[in-house]
Amino acid sequence: MTAAPHPTYEVVIGLEVHVHLRTESKLFSPAPVRYGEPPNHAVHPIDLGLPGVLPVLNRKAVELGIRAALATHCEVHARSVFARKNYFYPDLPKGYQISQYEDPLATGGWLEIDVPAASAADDAYVTRIGLTRIHIEEDAGKSIHDAAVAGADRSHVDLNRAGVPLLEIVSEPDLRSPAEAGAYLRTLQHLLRYAGVSDADMERGQFRCDANLSLRRHGATELGTRTELKNLNSFRFVEEALAAETVRQAGLLDAGRDIQQCTLSYDPERHATRVMRVKENADDYRYFPDPDLIALHVDAAEIDAVRRALPELPEQKRARWQTGYELSDYDARQLAESRALADFFEAVVAELGGGARAAKSAANWIQRDVRAALGERGVEIETTRLEASALARLIALVEGGRVTAQSARPLVAELLDHGGDPEALVRARGLEAVSDTGALEAAADAVIAAHPEVVEQVRGGEAKGLNFLMGQIMKRTQGKASPGAAREVLQRRLRGA
């Protein structure tokens, strides 16, 4: 799906991500944070903006914000200020959103991303994307415009989400393709889950993305006029929308026209972006410091305490595995990508007795078979029935010569779907490796008889014929011939012994 670079224009993308923080209660009120409740079942007078209420800041939300900032190499500011962002919308009962504006919690970090190869002719690469800022704000409620629910001339308002703590994470315009944008979002999502900052579930609205895109001629240094894509609710749509917007802007520029600053939405059915509104003058939200809240002060000791409590993050895991387990950079990156997969890998290594050799086996099986099966099903490891101990036992069966790798590999998908005990599965399927000399001799003799010309070549010293004959033995035994034993028997029979 990833498009090749545009021949004329360089694509410049910046992303704004909003994530729900993993708290029990809201940012400024003690109402619970709940999903899937009936409307207005998780609200407090503070969330409703009733007269006389005062917001009180949730300590945990600040801690999680600092965690996110540290995990992305941002500088956490000793002083940040909550401001009122004023606008009118029915799901914002106060008439303003409490956010941070001139003095955000943190600024100036970066995220390293792995960008997959765009095609077979390209290479995957690693690049670093700058973060402009991270600030804390409250979420608004939800408006339901669906005419089937609200009627043609009405909208419904549900304030369960009003006041849920959010982080807004703003990237520099450092992304150069839709694929980089997708990689950035996946990396950020995994990292926030790792650090326990957010569950970052897009379907629950816990991880939302707006994107800015502009084009400029290759080699130009000034940025072009940008447009903003809003409410992109899946990673695939983000990439598709950015590709579609690139085409739209390039068409205008090619025709000698200007890009107008505007907000667009993406229509996945038409594969096209659509202008929602044109920005006449920059949005005027009349920000000012919220007089109900004093500045947020965070001292160095608090930041240190949060830093010490951070779990091991992907980059640290990678470094540890590369030195301790001698994993390749590639394997280490892929295995560390999600916390669940990293934990699974480490559990398999431990089950196999630990150490570099166990790690190499575990990495091979996970990279080759487990990830392929996950990819085919479009699922993550934690939602499958594959237990680390089961994969370890399967690997041990192969390494102990009880079953060949060829026979064992299809069992990975089976364990993933249904769970179970690998040893019982091997027995039930009759997959035990054939190392019985009689059976192997019979197979070898049959192969030798069937391919006299190859046998001649091998006897004449051509080694590659031997692999062909081995392959034929495997075929005859349905992949169950234990390779070591079969090779020995074949060589013996070739010598006429």
């Binding site: 909003h18 708290t23 029990e24 209660s25 003690p30 109402a31 619970p32 944070v33 009936p38 409307p39 207005n40 079942h41 998780a42 609200v43 407090h44 007078p45 409703l48 009180v56 800041l57 949730n58 300590r59 945990k60 939300a61 600040v62 002083r79 200020v81 004023n86 606008y87 009118f88 919308y89 029915p90 959103q97 608004a140 408006s143 339901i144 415009h145 609200a150 043609a152 001339d153 009405r154 909208s155 419904h156 308002v157 549900d158 304030l159 807004e168 707006d210 809003k230 409410n231 907000t263 929602m276 509104r277 005027d284 009349r286 410091p289 004093i294 500045a295 947020l296 002060h297």
Partner: protein, 100 residues
């Protein structure tokens, strides 16, 4: 500091979703200008070496612990709703154009 004239009053009124009669806009421009002029006397003071004060009270950030309390009973939450449907507030249809 920008002067408050009639055009500025009209712009602010629009942002605040207020409808002003023409004579109101004129009157408010004069009144707001007078108020701001009064406050502007402060600009005469030399504050170059003074740290900006974010608040009049020398307080540390007050926090609450992350503990959820029972929410409002939905009936009470909706008690002032001009219109409702089930547990939802109902408002005249609005276009979904801004969310963050």
């Amino acid at each position: 500091m920008g002067r408050i004239d009639r055009a500025e009053v009209e712009r602010i009124a629009e942002l605040a979703c207020l409808e002003l009669a023409p004579d109101e806009a004129e009157r408010m421009a004069a009144e707001l200008a007078a108020i701001l002029g009064y406050v502007e006397q402060l600009a005469a003071l030399d504050t170059d070496d003074i740290e900006p004060t974010d608040h009049a009270l020398p307080l540390a950030t007050p926090f609450r612990d992350d503990r959820a309390e029972p929410p409002l009973a939905p009936e009470r939450a909706l008690a002032n709703a001009p219109e409702r449907d089930g547990f939802a507030f109902v408002v005249p249809r609005v276009l979904d154009e801004d969310e963050s």
